[in-house]
């Protein structure tokens, strides 16, 4: 019997050894890399932060300034949970983190051009975030050692961003190991354009704080005098989307209006403003499904149809803001195959916008380096019209139409008081910015223009700032109607 044990035991042990000697070093993730190059990170960072503003922020802010009526937000009903995804996965741990890694990694690798671009993207993003929330984590952000990054005051962040932009402009002029090309999805690696973007961003931020910071006047004066701002629409800081659904490259506004077709209506206020001025941009801005008939909605209207009942008849966003269809008057239900098929342009800072900023600065701060207010006002309108024509859809706005419109506006402008002139400038800027609710919302809070926005029934406090997300515990939770630092 013992013999049997001796005979069998070795086999059993061999069997045992086969499995006990197994390698346990198999825990390196086979699905995803632990490293990424600046070439891979930059485009992801750019697209992520830009789409953050083009989607949810745009929906909320456009509803607040009443160009559109998004049924969820038109009564300022923005809650903390609404903000979660935006703050968490789109901004901080999304695109901003990618850009931050470009900066840290690129600095070590001396890829200065990448670093400069990433800093400018970061500065742009943070400036808008301060505009939305005021106090946010900045100085202690992106440090995994710090569990609870502190919230810095918005004004301090603005000051830091100014320094960051200047630093970035310096980086762009350094010798760089690698330089971006098509991986820079905004300017295709054109550093001169980035420089103009940086300067224009400074100009915009100075203008944004003009009510609370008396030092911005000279700074703006000097920037304008240097004459290295966005100078033509080819310099515009914007993102051109794609028209593919897989991978999803279409702007979200297109998806909402041409695919899902539920959330949005055009605000009657905005349409009234356009039609009141016989604005030739209307068929590019808006698309009527019902031939020749605008069907919109009053903001804050507690009654009426649900989001789908008029989905086949209502007016949606057109080719200019949404990459949708030019309205040739024949109507038809929106579908994913229409018009630009979602290959929209999201315009963050345009030449026309720069011109209107200068016009405002001349009016409000007495800047002298610029042309006259009247000239800027006209130039701004013409640039805005040209921007629509750049789209290359429809017949284009004719010179005659533009001239008529300009003449009409100038007539009103010249007949106005200084205060009303500012209002007309801001209204023209408001119309131009259609599609970028964020900047309209900034202007509206800062200047109060448009000054005639009303809600049928207001059920929530006016949205003066965004709430913090529910997923984090901020130091304090201000009410939505408290002001950001530049707003008074």
């Amino acid at each position: 019997m013992k013999n049997i044990i001796y005979k069998k035991a070795p086999y059993l042990f061999i069997l045992m050894l086969i499995f006990s000697s197994c390698d346990l070093d198999i825990n390196d993730n086979p699905n995803s890399p632990t490293t990424a190059t600046v070439i891979e990170l930059l485009p992801h960072g750019q697209v992520s932060v830009i789409e953050s503003f083009a989607s949810l922020v745009n929906a909320i802010t456009s509803s607040a300034v009443q160009t559109r009526v998004n049924s969820r937000y038109d009564n300022y009903t923005v809650t903390r949970t609404t903000i979660d995804g935006l703050w968490n996965s789109n901004l901080y741990s999304g695109g901003l983190k990618d850009l931050e890694d470009v900066i840290t990694q690129g600095t070590i690798e001396e890829n200065w051009h990448y670093v400069g671009i990433a800093k400018l993207m970061k500065a742009y993003t943070f400036s808008l975030m301060v505009d939305l929330w005021n106090d946010i984590p900045y100085s202690e952000a992106f440090n995994a050692e710090i569990d609870m990054p502190a919230y810095d005051p918005g004004s301090e962040i603005y000051a830091n961003l100014e320094a960051l932009i200047i630093e970035a402009l310096g980086d762009l002029n350094k010798t760089s190991v690698l330089s971006p090309g098509s991986d820079d999805v905004v300017y295709g690696g054109d550093l001169a354009k980035w420089e103009r973007m940086g300067n224009t961003l400074l100009l915009k931020m100075y203008n944004q704080t003009r009510l609370v910071d008396s030092s911005v006047g000279p700074k703006m004066e000097s920037l304008i005098a240097q004459d290295n701002l966005i100078q033509s629409s080819t310099d515009d800081f914007q993102l051109l989307y794609g028209d593919t659904a897989a991978p999803e490259n279409r702007m979200s506004l297109f998806e909402v209006d041409y695919v899902i077709r539920l959330d949005n209506r055009i605000a009657n206020y905005f349409n009234d403003l356009l039609t009141g001025n016989n604005d030739p941009r209307i068929p590019y801005y808006l698309y009527n499904q019902t031939p020749g008939v605008f069907i919109g909605r009053d903001s804050g209207n507690p009654n009426g149809l649900s989001t789908f009942e008029d989905q086949d008849t209502r007016t949606f966003h057109g080719a200019y803001p949404a990459g949708g269809k030019y309205d040739d008057g024949s109507g038809g239900i929106t579908t994913a195959d229409l018009g630009l098929k979602g290959a929209a342009t999201y315009r963050m800072m345009t030449n026309a916008m720069r011109i209107f900023i200068e016009a405002e600065a001349v009016m409000a701060l007495g800047i002298t380096a610029s042309a006259s207010v009247e000239a800027l006002f006209e130039e701004g309108i013409r640039e805005s019209m040209a921007k629509v024509n750049d789209l290359g859809v429809g017949p284009g706005i004719s010179t005659a139409q533009i001239d008529t419109y300009v003449a009409d506006r100038l007539l009103a402008f010249n007949a106005s008081s200084d205060a009303d002139k500012l209002k007309l400038i801001m209204l023209e800027k408001y119309v131009h910015l259609f599609g970028n609710g964020m900047e309209q919302y900034n202007d509206w809070r800062r200047t109060g223009i448009p000054d005639d926005l009303t809600l049928v029934v207001q059920t929530s406090p006016t949205l003066n700032r965004f709430p913090y997300p529910s997923s984090v515990t901020p130091p304090t939770v201000p009410n939505n109607d408290e002001f950001v630092f530049w707003d008074n």
């Binding site: 825990n27 901080y92 990618d98 952000a141 659904a245 897989a246 649900s306 009942e309 029934v457 709430p467």
Partner: protein, 1207 residues
Amino acid sequence: MKKSIVFKRGILLLAFILSSSYASANLSETNKDPSYTFSKANKIKLTDALQAASENYHVFFSYETKLLENVEVEVSLSELFSKETEIEVVVNSLLSGTNLKFETIGDKYIVIYKNNRNGKNKLERLKEKLNELRDIENGDDILLYPNSKKAQKVLATKRGVNVTQDLTITGLVTDELDVPLIGATVVAKGTTVGAVTDFDGLYSLKVPTSTTHLVFSYIGYESKEVAINQRTTINTQLREDANALDEVVVTALGIERNKKTLSYAVSEVKGDQLADKAEADVLRALSGKVAGVNISGSGGASGSSTNIIIRGNNSATGNNQPLFVVDGIPFDNSTTSTSDLAGASSSYSNRALDLDPNDIASMTVLKGGAAAALYGSRASNGVIIITTRSGSASRKGMEVEISNTVGAETISRFPDYQNKYGQGNYLNGQYTFSPVATESWGPAFDNPNLDGNGGLFSDDGVIKYINHVGDAVPYRAFPNNVKDFYRTGFQRETSIRAQGGDGKNAFAVTASNLDNEGFIPFTGLKRTSIKVSGLTNLENGLKIKASATYVNTHQDGILSGGHNTLSSINRQTLFVPRSYDLTGFPYIDEVTGEQLRYTFWDNPRWLAQEGPYDSDVNRVYGYLSADYKANEWLNFSYKIGLNTYTDSRVQIIPRGSFNSPGSITDNDITFTEISSDFIVTGSKQLTEDLNLRVVLGHNFNQRKTDITSFTGIGIIKRGISRITNTESVVTDLSTLSNRRIVGLFSDMVLSYKDYLFLNLTGRNDWSSTLPKGERSFFYPSISTTFNFTDAFNVKSDFFTFGKLRLAYTKIGNDADPYLLQTVNTINGDGSGLQFPFNGISGTEVGDNLGNENLKPEFTTEYEAGLELNLMKGRVGIDVTYYSKITEDQIFSVNIPAATGYFTKTLNAGEISNKGWEVGLDLNPFLNPEGFSWNIYTTFARNVSKVEKLIDGLDQINPGNRVAAYGNILRVGEPYGVIEGEVQNRDANGNLLINALTGLPTKAPGQQIVGDPNPDFLMGINNTMTYKGFKLGFLFDWKQGGDILSLSNGYLRGFGLTEETAVDRDRTYVLPGVLADPNDPTQPMLDQNGNTVTNNIQISPQNYWSGATNGTQRNQYRFSAESLIFDATVFRLRELSLGYTFTKQMLKKLPFGSMSVTLLGRNLWFKAPNYPHLDPEVSTYGAGNAQGVEQYAPPTVKNMALNIKLSF
């Protein structure tokens, strides 16, 4: 001399102890002188020695065959066998070197037993049986072996006469399965004449002519009286005693142990309680049968998943499902969701669905940690050990069994719809018809008030409108429009099983086929499985067993998701307007295939037809094992098992569904698990009273999951469900995961006198998922059982048996793979956009911060239990209290995103679970020939508490969560309480009403609104038998637990249900006070500083739906607060009535046995606080997110007929 061990059907070796197979040394009639002479120091087999003694002294020995196997004795005194020496002296001498004792009973009936508590127990019971026989004999001494010379003498002296023995009766005594019973006693009733059956179960007995009956008895069996009726051959079957106290259960690693000796809570469910329940998922059939096991389903759609939680959730965000072990090999039961459950998803199955209930011999639930320590980490949530039916070598010959079940299923509950008002909305002060409205707030059918009701017109007195396809149709109620969408489901299940054996080898084959047509059109489930198993006992002592099962499970599903599921068929169907003829109106354009819909919602009929979800699972599992008994006390065994499946899924969102271009998603999931165990078992009697059994083992386990996923967007041609039929294809969700674990373990049981047991276990694991150098972790358990009735020798008819048990366990648990590093995502999502973006690829820095210092998490559990058996099995009580805590949990916790990461993997947090489990077994009627009634009641209460989370964080989100509500873990609260939006209230709890709208205002944050954990679960199992009839019913009661029901919110908000049709002609004023217009969180105060009572009238539609504006009717009723319902439910879960045909009835038929059973499941339920639907659903199915119902498929009730035949 040939000896065989008798096995009974059922639980393999369990039978061994139950039946206590006794072997008898046959005695010859001849009275010859001792022919055996032994030289000194001659070693012979004890059995041979006894045989000699038996023949010499004409005595009868009774012993357990196994007991004397291989026992050799030294017979040095041949004179002992001379007739001068008393037989007792001889036996005493023979047994002197062993641990055996003997006792003489009656006239030379000598029982040899093992000198321990167990042996003595058996002796006592044997004596009890003999005493019963004595009773029959009216107090006279029984002569168990009346043919012995001495007996003859005694008889003659006692009665003064010679006993007349005129009639010789011979026969065979067998068990119910015709297995011969060895050592059964046969006594002529009213006499002292008796005999004992031999090894072949045969007896021969001379009885007086006056004898009318024979009495048969056998240990562990019910005694039986048989009338002689002049027969000379009487064969009989004895029936197993249902109240036999010894119960063997299968415990960890397949070790079978007497339940009396276990020091932890174990529940066993026999196969026949699971099979033939007309329920494809064996887990659901387990419902209500085991205390402490909470089972919930995700609705009644064919193949939808089942959640099973034992003693509460341990893990914050990880897996809380118990480990499944089939025949000793881990069996993957995961539910892989290949699309967001909150979105357009389907009813994904959990993979226990692949188990064939017909092939299950038993299911053992190891609830506590002590029971599970040997399975390692994954046992921390409990273990469900499934033993499948396999062949038995001792069963000779061939047996074939066929079972066939046919059944039908229907929806168990439809909402109570109203049939007074049709499609439309309350607008501008009147109920207005609209053919595109989703609501039923339109005009009354009997009083439509045509003015202003655009679309309605009178046509010859009939109110009509133009429907979505341009037909003029009457405006009226369609009371069955929802019901008619569904159909009667049908189920057929056939199982054929054959087994055979020749004493050394055995072979079994099971083939089964299930075909279920679901109650939802186009859904169904088909399962085909084939199992082959066999075993052989080789000459060299090696025992080889092997089993292989192939199963194909095919699920035909539909899109049926949760929140925001524009394509949820259940949602579209349940909420169809009362005046819309869903099944009567056209739903598809026959030419283009486009859907025809009445509103923006997809037409559910079109969607069910055009948007299938198919899952095709091919699974193979099995094992190969070798056992080798080196000697009496040492055993080696090795087992290697494989469990692998591929799940090929195709999910289609049809072109045109919500303007979508359509998509086809292919998911291929491949899972492979390899597991091997090498175990050495040693068992030794240390002293007379102490016995030690030690198991040493080595375990290796590898699990690999590979998921490949492609989505094609833009379906080109309708009806072709291949991904090549799409415009562009993207990959998503493709992941590969691999993990290994190696463990060394030991399990020691020290027993003292068979009434005190000490069980120590220890295990050390090395896991691939932990940081290098920190891979090793150890966890022990200690438990003890005290059998106090045996210890104190309590001999009471009332207090039959009692034991106390205590256990302490610690279980370590490793991490999931790849949590140590922070990884980036190639071409990841960018704020909703996908890369490559305009052809440019991009990489995203990962959102989860890895942790290179991760440690294993540990669960510590204390358990105490008391088991009592009163009045000889009439009452059984099993009470357990446990308290466990899981610490250093590994989870991914939300961190401030400003760190650059959204989540971080860390060790933190503590979750505790404490609870009671009670099993009460009552047998008020116990008559094997007549009426018997068994009532088995289970009760379980578990209280969970989140003790601690990461510092600085008081809550995290454990599962699926949408913006407005979801499960959370909050310190101090039970596991997974539901948080959601609530209304503003003043300090006195009054609603704060918006002074402009008359509707409540929503509070800014979210609060806890409900707790999904039930207060307690109770199941009452009844089994009544009378002759061949068997009636069973299982009644269960789930008390408490909240459900957030979106369906109920919509049913009311849309004006669909009865309660909304009451008082539509008046306005409502919500109770509450007016809110401050500037700060809705504060009440408005009048000039005296008092609150102002709300007096603003609102419409019934606003009252039920809470519209604040026409586009968002979700402000009041649809806040999470108002969607919470108490899910208490009483349910008749199972009802069965069966009849087993008697042998006589089957005489002319070719069957060995035949039974017919009528089955019903879920036939009745009452949910006192849950309107319109069955509360037993959770949209998310298996997983940690529970208590949220979002348009889940309804549950079903079913009736089935089962016929079982054997040859």
